[in-house]
Each structure stands twice: as C-alpha cells, then as structure tokens.
Amino acid sequence: MSEKAATVTKKPVARKKVTKWQYTWTEMKKNWIAYTMIGPFFILFFTFTVIPVVLSIILSFTTFNMLEWPHFVGLKNYLRLLLEDDIFLLAVKNTLVFASITGPVSYLMSLMFAWFINELTPKIRAVVTLIFYAPSISGNVYMIWTVLFSGDQYGYINSILLKLNFITTPIQFLTNTDYIMPIVIIVALWTSLGTSFLSFIAGFQTVDRSLYEAAAVDGVKNRWQELWYVTLPYMRPQLMFGAILAITGSFGFGSVITAMVGFPSPDYCAHTIMHHLEDYGGERFEMGYASAIATILFFMMIGANMLVRKILSKVGK
C-alpha cells in the first residue's frame, strides 16, 4: 500500500484567490437567514437606542428648539455647561456623590445578601429571596417612604422620635435640605436589589460543589476564605454583569427622587444630571443644550463602566 501512495503524484489543488471581503460576502450570503432573523430586532434597536445616542451627540453642537431647524454653534453648549451653569456643576456633584455611594453599596449588598441567602435551605431561600427582591419590582411602593418620613407628627419616624423625646417638633424630612440626600439614598438602596441580585443568587447556586470539597482539602478554613478564594473567582462573569447594572442604575436614578421630593428639589439639593437634562429638554425645550448634558452623562456612564470592568477583571488574579 505504501508504495502505491509514494508513486501517486500530487496534483496542484486549484484554489481560487479570495480576499477577506469576498470571503465575508460569501459567508454573509450563505447565512442570509440569520440576517432576516436579527433584522426586526436590530432595526428597532438601532432606531431607538443607537440612533438617539448618535443624534444626541450631533445635536449637542447645535441649538435646537423643536420649532426651527438646528443651528450649528460648535462648542458653545459645552462651554456654557462647564463654565457658566452653576446648577449643572451642583448636579454633577450630587450625581457623583449619589452614584459613588449607591453604586458600590447596592452592589455589595446584593452580593452579600445573595451569599447569605445561599446558605439557607431551599424552601426558606425562596421566601427570603422574594422578600429582598420584592421592593425593586413593586411599582410605586417606594412612595410609602414619604408616608413614613412625613413632615407632620403623623409621620411614623417623627412620631417615634417625638415619643422618645429626641425632638420636640416634627422634623421636615422631605423639605429640609440636610435630610433629603440621606433619605433619597436610603430609598435608592431599598429598591436596588434587582436583576443583579437575582444574577448573584443564581450564580451562587450554580457553583460546583466539588470545588468546595477540593478547597476544604487544600486547607481553606472557614466560609470567608471559601468565598474569596473559590466562589468569587468562579463567579466573575456574574460580578461583571452586576457591576454594570449597579453603575448604570445609580447614575440613572431620578424618577423616584422627583416623585418623593419634587422637581426641582429644595435648593436643588437632590438635583442630579438627569433632572438637569429633563429641565432643559422637557421643560425649556433647549434641545441642543440638553443634548450636550445627555452626551456628558452618556460618556460618564460609559467611562465609569469601563473603569469598573478593568478593575473587576483583576479580581482574584
């Protein structure tokens, strides 16, 4: 057999020279059905998510009031924002304070409680998961916090403080600038155990049990070490997903604030960039200026997300 193989001469294989683009095009034609399948979704997605961002960036260099055509003004909007608009700078400060507290704290809360809950038995686990997850899906139940913190003596918190003689007159929680930010942060944390919380719970449940046993053999002494050395590195995809949701949520938390303390909040103390955007876009119809605000917010969110992504990719390494 081997002699026969040795005597057969190799014919040169006729191979057509194909560029990368031609190859891609033939692949595209071969998979045409895929494009029809993604078509409906992505057409809508581009219309309502991608194009608005691009349009926002473009409009930010114009003045536009919805009645006349946009009028190109270059960087005037940005200069006005950064140099002349005190309220915008206050809004940036508020947003950063708010996001830097709410983001990490809600993230750690989700992680911590998901881990605690994972230690329970399945039946109890389902109930406790529901208890922690319910506030984030329940529509406008957060309004009950306005009742609890109500500024008259019937507000529950005020009445407890009055009864215990800590104060003599009711505190105006929702109109006093000192209290508004902390209260808003508490409510934000209360509603923040959402999708990322479920993601962590699911992630903890799917960690391979044999990893724990192997770790116990290798000398892992208690549950904290187990968490840090075994569980968290395994769960890095979920950690990443949860981090993105936490950051995005903390930057975009505005409608609850409006519902609780009004728009604008007293002395603009809870005025976030989002409110500023609504102010100029929805109330004053200065679309160019508002687009500049939106663009800045967009890049802030993306920047924060990319930063956290870089940090998280180093966890456990």
Partner: protein, 278 residues
Amino acid sequence: MNRSLGGDIGINTLLAIFGAFMFLPMVYTVCQSLKPLDELWMFPPRFFVRNPTTRNFTQLFRLMGTSWVPFSRYIFNTAFISIVGTFGNVMLSSLAAYALAKIKFPGRVFLFNIIVYSLMFHSTVTGLTNFIIISSLGWMDTYLAIIIPAFCTTMGLYLMKQFMETSVPDSVLESARLDGASEMRILWTIAMPMVKPAWLTLTIFAFKDLWNSGTSSYIYSEQLKTFNYAINQLITGSISRAGVSGAAMVIMMIVPIAVFVISQSNVIETMSTSGMKD
C-alpha cells in the same frame, strides 16, 4: 463542612435585620390600606392595624368610577400594552438571540458587543432624542409609541442569548441541520422548548416593566393612559386619601410579586447564565 456556629448566627441575624428593613415598609403599606380612618390619623401612630377594614378598597373602586374615562379603559390600556409589548419582545428577542447564539454569521460578535455597550448607559440618555424621533415618526399619542420601543429591550436580548448559548447543545442543532431543517424550523421546534426558563423570564421582565410604566411623555390623551398613571393620580390626590393610597399601592405591588412568585425558579435558572465574560 467548615461552618462555624458563630458565623451562622451572625449571618442569620444580619439577614433578619436587613430582611426586616426590606420587608417592613411593604407590611406597613398593607396595614395602611386596611386601617379605618380613625386609626390612620392617630397620634402616636400605630404600626399594625387593630380593626382592619376593606373600606379603603371600596372607596378606591368608587373613586375609580368618578374618573373622566371609565376606569376599565385604563385597565384595558395597560393590559393591551403589556400583552402586545411582551409578546413582541419575546418574539423578536428569541429570533435575534437564536441567530446571535447559534448561527455563525459575520458580524455577530460586533452586534453583541453593541448590546453589551448599550447595557452600560441608562435610557434617560436616549429619552430626549427618542422624543424627537418618535414625534417625527408621527407616533405621538398612540399605543405604538410605547409598544414598539418595548420590543427591543437590551436586557431581554442579552439574557436570551446568554441562556441559549449554553443551554442548546450544538450537537442537536447539527443533526437537525444535517436532516435538512431550516433555521426557523429549528428555532421553533427544537430551541424554544429548551429555553423555556428564558422566555418565561423575558415575559415576566417585559410585563413588569410595562405594568409599571406610568407617565409617558408621549401620551397625553386620557383614554390612552395606563392603569399605573391613574393610580398615581389617586395617590397624590390629597392627604385625606392616605388609606386609599395605601390600597392603591397594594394593588400595584401585588401583581408583579404574584407573577414573580409563580415563576421564581425559572427566573433564577435563566439568571444563572447571565454572566458576562470579559
């Protein structure tokens, strides 16, 4: 294994404290909705209710009857928007997710990266220019302005694609393709039954978002407004309606919670694949 008793006690204590923090406001809401008028305005206020009454709920229904348009119209609006929006969302997301996950076509990585990047910013950034787009499409003050954008939620596609990628084995698909089935046929007869937790989760999330969609800047005629909007109007009506607003909040919160309770295991199963690989 290595579970110390002290750690166990500490963890359960913390869980109890924070569980109370999460849970008590909702219990308070239910109590408020059941309190008769004299208990609502007692000083010092009592947390639990001594003589529960359903009068707040009946008053709520009576108030509903005095709205400009019949209240059933609000309920119909919310139901219509929720059902159509959810259905469209699941359909479009499933089609796109299957193609992204299981068909190797040029551009799939690029498109999925766009999806991941769009998870990173909030919809408020696009809200303003969305307004411009929708008004130039002529959809202001119609159902379309709410339903069509709900068809293309980022989270829906992301969860669906991640779940499909890991839960539908390639071998089954290959044998189906060898047998000559078209991709659409494969999707509907083979893949979809396998990813039932995912489209259940999608249904629930989409429904929850649409149920909770209150005021929309695109809708201003009364007969198109949603149930949530009408309830909000009642809540912020006046302080004398404290009990009624409690009842309204209870109604609003029961539906998503009930839906979640029924499908909890499916949701958790879907979320187990939601991780993002870096």
